[in-house]
Symmetry: C2
Subunit: 287 residues, 2 copies
């Protein structure tokens, strides 16, 4: 049995940065520092931070002693930034720098008179934040559903975790409407690389494990990708979920993980598979 | 036998306008008025104009009595415009208004700091003219050959007669390079409509006739399109080229024509097929 772990599995640059900021705040033991919502879509990390005193807020009114809020990687709507600022509360901005760029472009396109189109998942917090920067006037589209009727001057900005193929598909459709089209390809390369490595891996193994929060969009996307390649795929949050029958007869086992999955969870998944399989780990394992 | 002539066959708006300008000049009987090159890619029209005194120039030095030059639909390089103007010669500008728009956008993209990419045929006069407006710094690409290495900030403008499918294909490739992409879809709708009607027609008939100059790019494109759909296709300049064996056993015959093919040539093609076939014309004939 060979276990191969994707080199691109786990924390991306933006998540690593946000987690670092949150743990630094925890180390400083400042009172009244909260994250606005869970810092990342990973319950285990959120739990660890809680134990160190950094608790996620449901909203700004849910606690009375709020001194500072850490903004998570996805960013927040402009209106909420203003609300926090005017309440006298400090903003510790852990918005991913790539998301900040996308926010800036959404604003720019809107100011330049383009009909702003956002390729992404409508209810994702990043997209909600992007919309606010486009004066809440943007149209959110995805690659699966038909495009609505659009204007002739279109500005396109992309949720950083979208696959390039979706951008291609949407652009192809947008061309029916647009005479002038400005595109900021704000897709984060780390997502593309992770998707590419995962796809390559899924084509070579007998079973795929995707580790990460069930509510993490980019982890779910990895699971969907593997599933579409007809390899048995298991989306797990922790190693304890793995069942022996899943790997019976599997010679090659692939592990990948979303951008919000910490290394220690990936490591536990490897260990658990190795333990169940009762043999040695092989391949280009990450750890 | 049924003969169907495409509704979109023949002169487009820009060509009609240019021909009108040339014949108006002929009617005015002004001395020393020339066209710079053949006014359109149709030898029969050029011949007709010649007989009325409007002769095509090879270059500005080929005649001594040049008072005014008519610029044809494709436009001319900026440098040449300046040369003509500084020689004291009048410019009668019959550049297609849609090409003028593309020229303007090529200039704008260049000024805005984009690496200008022109989708089109490198040696086509329209593309040569577009290049000059992009400060001669533009890269010409097409949908058939791989893209060269491009910069991250790309401005795309399109030869007006390109098919939308080529733009889709090139855009898809450009996305690998570009982080910022501005596209002016300068494809002329009349070309798209003509291509679409021709394709639909070619799928329904037994033989296709494409009437137009052998040196007309858009006529050649129609021929190539029909050929790719495996219907026997004949590119003819005049009705006299049609051979009886081409239509033997053909029940449905389609006729289309490029943007530079005059109505009287299309009409002659219809008449000749009807004569050879020895039967009545049917379908939604144009004339």
């Amino acid at each position: 049995m060979e276990i191969i772990t994707a080199k691109t599995a786990g924390f991306c640059f933006g998540v690593k940065r946000a987690i670092d900021i949150a743990f630094r705040m925890a180390a400083e033991k400042r009172k009244g520092v909260y994250t606005l919502g869970p810092i990342i879509h990973n319950p285990q990390v959120v739990e660890k931070l809680k134990r160190k005193g950094i608790v996620p807020l449901e909203d700004l009114k849910s606690k009375k002693d709020i001194q500072a809020v850490i903004i998570r990687t996805h960013g927040i709507p402009l209106r909420l930034s203003k609300e926090i600022a005017s309440s006298g509360c400090e903003i510790i901005d852990a918005t991913c720098p790539f998301v900040k760029k996308a926010q800036y472009y959404a604003k720019l396109l809107s100011e330049e008179g383009y009909q702003v189109v956002i390729l992404g998942e409508k209810n994702h917090p990043e997209v909600q934040s992007l919309m606010s920067y486009a004066d809440n006037d943007a149209i959110v589209v995805n690659a699966e559903t038909p495009l609505p009727r659009l204007k002739k001057k279109i500005g396109l900005v992309v949720q950083t975790t979208q696959p390039l193929e979706s951008l291609r598909k949407v652009l192809s459709g947008v061309l029916i409407h647009a005479k002038e089209l400005k595109v900021y390809n704000t897709i984060c390369n780390s997502t593309a690389l992770r998707l590419r490595e995962t796809e390559r891996m899924a084509r070579q193994v007998d079973v795929m494990f995707v580790a990460g929060g069930k509510n993490s969009a980019n982890t779910t996307q990895l699971t969907r990708l593997c599933g579409s390649l007809s390899v048995p795929t298991y989306h797990i949050e922790t190693a304890s979920e793995i069942r022996k029958q899943w790997i019976t007869n599997a010679k090659h086992i692939g592990i990948t993980a979303g951008a919000s999955t910490p290394d220690w969870i990936i490591h536990e998944v490897e260990e658990r598979i190795r333990y169940i399989g009762g043999r040695q780990v092989g391949g280009n394992s990450k750890q």
